[in-house]
């Protein structure tokens, strides 16, 4: 979708570095340590070589010199190790803390973008930006840059040392080594194509397994086992073919590099020894050369290995920044008011709304609600009942018209005070990973234990909680997994009960709640609604009939409104719906 030119990756890189800027000091240190580590690391073989030169043959050993050189080597080695360790510490620190900062900002973004963004993006995708993409930025870019830097320094320094020792042999090494890069690049290209094919086949196989093992009960019910086995083996043998190729190609890299290394070593041995015969090189220098020749291909491979890592990091960074660049919800105006108390009278005037421009959903909708009235929202599944809730609580902004709460335009109130005036119990009852007490006190963390218990009692969940071994201190596992759906909903009711908001938005459960819990929920709802303006997404006929106003929704739009009797007389959609439910 975006043209990823060099300019834009440079911009992305710059932006990541800006994120890392609080850790500037450590970045500079990391580069400095990297430099020192590489230079010292390369000095050691030269020193060892000189030491060997002081032991030419019987009776020709200069012990003093050797001792001095070896002590020096020891110091250099220890220092090089220390610097390498320090370098690792610095890059780790920068990488992990920059990732932390990125994640912090992503989380903040989750709660400041318009809800439309959260609703419109698969949560798995947003989550993978939060976890995986930031990880690849940490690994690829921050650690990668240090690797790249030390790799390049290593190449340059080795080259420098070799030229210093003997320019001709250095030239031989320089000419042969790029061979390994060509070989490596060739192998990478080959295996990358195979890898793509392999991961496509692997993906296909995984989704096949997911579907057919997940749907095993249906497979059994229809006696489909043999047919599914055949298709499975087909995909599997395709995976075998490309998997075998990709594994073979990628496993070529090691032996090929070893071969090139061997070539370099042989070349150094031959030219080095010939030079030594001519007297232009010492034996110790040959030894140093061999060590270098062995090491010289390593940084090349490292540098080429870092490139794809960098690319995937940049791609990840693009996705992360795209999310962070998402516009926040409209800021509150300057003269914004805090809603201190509220009677619950609502006046909706000529509201227009659409999720997608050009596809109007709600047009010219008006509704007047007196304090304490009950409004039932009915309609077939998927008719967009949540749209209405979205507008009332300003999760989405209306396009035209006005919504007045106690005579005040809700767009002139702070979002937080508006939302606090509603108590909301949705069907997908959200609880978080904390104790039951903390969950009930979510809206009022300062509530006393007595208040919490009273709220739980009113929601008919107190007795259940008391039966748990740790009572109110019981941890709720991920998304309330250790509670039944009905219990979760009762917990959410208690949470709202504790806040005593002037208005309510409730969602009746459709199914999967056992009868007794359902009765409790209904009683709790009734308790809560006393004297409060309530909007109920209704499924139960009794709720609908007792409502002051019924809003009938279809395909996202409000098509009828009125009391039960009025709507029955109109003989419209509602009348049909009602009749279909209870005649057969």
């Amino acid at each position: 979708m975006k043209d990823k030119s060099k300019g834009s990756s440079a911009a992305t890189l710059k932006r990541i570095l800006k994120y890392a800027s609080p850790y500037k000091g450590r970045i500079v240190l990391a580069l400095l340590f990297a430099f020192l580590y590489v230079v010292l690391n390369l000095t050691a073989p030269v020193l060892v070589g000189y030491a060997i030169d002081n032991a030419v043959g019987t009776g020709q050993v200069n012990y003093g010199m050797i001792l001095e050189l070896l002590l020096l080597t020891g110091t250099v080695v220890v220092m090089s190790s220390v610097f390498q360790w320090l370098m690792n510490l610095c890059t780790n620190y920068v990488a992990y803390f920059t990732v932390r900062d990125l994640r912090r900002d992503i989380c903040r973004k989750f709660n400041t973008v318009p809800l439309k963004y959260i609703d419109g993006h698969p949560h798995g995708d947003l989550l993978s930006r939060m976890i995986n993409d930031t990880d690849s930025i940490g690994d690829g870019l921050l650690q990668g840059i240090t690797q790249l830097f030390s790799g390049i320094v290593m190449i340059l320094c080795t080259l420098g040392f070799m030229i210093f020792l003997n320019i001709y042999i250095a030239l031989v090494v320089v000419i042969i080594t790029p061979l390994s890069m060509f070989v490596a690049a060739f192998i990478t290209r080959l295996s990358q194509r195979m890898f793509r094919e392999q991961s496509a086949a692997q993906g296909e196989l995984s989704s096949y397994i997911e579907e057919y093992v997940g749907g095993q009960k249906i497979v059994k019910a229809f006696g489909y086992e043999q047919r599914s086995q055949e298709s499975f083996e087909q995909i599997n043998s395709r995976l075998q073919q490309c998997g075998q190729k990709s594994q073979f190609y990628s496993s070529l890299a090691n032996p090929s590099t070893r071969f090139v290394n061997g070539l370099v070593t042989a070349a150094v041995c031959i030219t080095g020894s010939l030079s030594a015969i001519q007297g232009t090189l010492s034996v110790g220098q040959i030894a140093a050369f061999i060590t270098y020749a062995n090491q010289y291909t390593k940084p090349f491979n490292e540098v080429t290995g870092v490139i794809p890592q960098l690319q995937s990091a940049l791609a990840g960074a693009d996705r992360v920044f795209a999310m962070l660049d998402e516009a926040d919800q409209t800021p509150e105006p300057e003269n914004v008011q805090e809603l201190s108390s509220c009677s619950g009278s609502l006046d909706i005037k000529n509201v227009d709304f659409s999720y997608v421009p050009d596809r109007p959903l709600i047009t010219d909708f008006s509704l007047r609600v007196k304090p304490g009235q009950r409004i039932a929202i009915v309609g077939p599944t998927g008719c967009g009942k949540t749209t209405f809730i979205n507008l009332l609580m300003r999760f989405y902004d209306i396009d035209e018209g006005a919504i007045m709460l106690d005579g005040k335009n809700i767009y002139e109130l702070t979002r937080s005070s508006l939302r606090r005036s509603y108590g909301m119990v949705l069907q997908e009852s959200w609880l978080y990973n904390a104790t039951i007490r903390e969950n009930i006190a979510y809206g009022r963390p300062d509530a006393t234990m007595d208040e919490i218990r009273a709220a739980a009692k009113k929601a008919y969940i107190d007795r259940f909680i008391e039966r748990l071994p740790e009572k109110y201190e019981t941890m709720i596992t991920e998304e309330g997994g250790n509670l039944s759906q009905g219990q979760r909903q009762l917990m959410c009711i208690a949470r709202v009960m504790l806040c005593q908001p002037p208005m309510l938005i409730l969602d009746e459960a459709t199914s999967s709640i056992d009868t007794r819990t359902e009765i409790r929920i209904q009683r709790a709802f009734a308790e809560m609604m006393k004297g409060r303006t309530s909007f109920i997404v209704a499924h139960r006929l009794s709720t609908i009939k007792e409502a002051d106003i019924i809003l009938v929704m279809k395909d996202g739009n409000i098509i009828e409104q009125g009391s039960h009797d009025e709507l029955m007389q109109r003989k419209g959609f509602y009348c049909n719906l009602y009749n279909s439910q209870f005649s057969s």
């Binding site: 060892v48 992990y96 803390f97 093992v213 909301m424 806040c499």
Partner: protein
Amino acid sequence: MFRLRRFLKGYIFQLTVGPLCKLIEAVFELMIPMITADIIDTGVKNNDAGYVLSRGGLMVLMGALGLCFALVCQKSASIASQGFGTKLRNAMFRHINTLSYEEIDRIGTPSLITRMTNDINQLQLAVAMLIRLVIRAPFLVIGAMIMAFMIDVRMALIFVVAAPLIALVLYIVMTRSVPYFKAMQKKLDRVSLISRENLSGNRVIRAFDKQDYEQQRFDSANSELASTAVRVGRISALLNPITYTIAQAAIIAIVWMGSCYVDSGSLQTGQIIALVNYMTQILLAMIVVSNLVVIFTKAAASASRVNEVFDMQPSVTEKTHKDISPDENAPAVVFDNVCFAYGSGGYALKNISFSVKRGMTVGIIGGTGSGKSTLVNLIPRFYDVSEGSVSVYGNDVREYSFEQLRSVMGIVPQKAALFSGTIEDNLRWAKKDASDEEINKALRISQSYEFVEKMPEKTKKTVTAGGKNLSGGQRQRLTIARALVGSPEILILDDSASALDFATDAALRKALRDETKGMTVFMVSQRVGTVRYADKILVIDNGELAGQGTHNELVKSCPVYREICLSQLRAEEVEN
């Protein structure tokens, strides 16, 4: 792990030739430092350029030969390991197909999927490494030691000290960092849990105005993760510097002691260089060995997870593959004092007895977890009863072959799942060669005809995995259609109308009644409206049959049924 070696059968050739070739390459590699020493100690010392060139040529030749051998090995490894993985996957899929509901429920689908993908991939990698490195790396370590002994026994002592020391450091650093890695994974899980909660609960968080609180909660988990990660880094960052230092210390010792022996004439300079090179080889090989240990530890864990699946025996097995003759006059389904328990748990169903005549419509109602679904799952023998018996057409279900028993039934499971493919592919599950007419009829009865016709591709529309590109209601109606193709004699609807609105639900029931004369229908539901006009209603409460009869009978006689009715309907609606 070794039990899985049966899947390596047929790859004996690759398994022998591969490591052998790698061994030859390693031998060549070990010779190189010796040749280097020769070149220096003979060639350079005697100023013999010819010797230098011939030995140099030998080095190149050995390198080239080594490459060839290595390629043969890599090829063998890729063939054997991928073949092994493929066979293993096929066998596992086949085995899973034979398992009954009970076993699949016990392991769980997500776990089966990871076992078939990640775990098998891990084992595949282990097989490849077995061929490529398991012989080579230790051989290089030992070989380099032997070469050192061959050069000079006294010098070899340095190797005897240094090599185990490197191994020890590798061991300590690795075992020390493993618990930290686990801790880090936990912290990361927490960060992703809070992120998930912030996404799924976004509305609630905003409704309670708790954005700041959530941010704090996230920040603390997030910072903890970062500091744990830095702590882990501190330990694992030690690995390279320490091993490097030990190897270098050994090299310094080699040069120092070597110089003394050179002085006394018992060692030559080139041999010092060779020893230095062997030390470097040992260091590199050791690091490979430590990686191998990690790979094989993981593989062993994967192997035990894979074997767990193979060890699982289906609890429901066929007595016969032959068809037996059903009794024409017997009732369609009879439950005789049936008890059922999942695994070793308490009874999920207790003392259930009822009889269903052919052509009857039976409604089954009760709360969540009351045992409704369990009850209907016993009819196609997805589970076996613990006590009592279930009979279909006069024979115990255990007497039939799976194929005969299940071919007379159309089953609509609770979870409305379709499979990727076209709508038509999905509808042809029960009957591969169903005519268009049959398909259209099934679509009409299930109230799907209209919406399918509205789609531009009609029945050729592609369905994505699970049917995610259709609405819940559409999916549910198509699963009903799928069961109807092939005109089953017994239709089981397991709460299959929950996603339908009342109007569609009613139309569906009407069509089922009118169009499927003679079909015995079981209808599980939580809604009174769905079951109230059934010929017989079974009320299940807590695994027991609380009552059976028609709506009017039960309203009077069964308190549980009355309670359910009152929770859903108003009093006057219950009565009429």
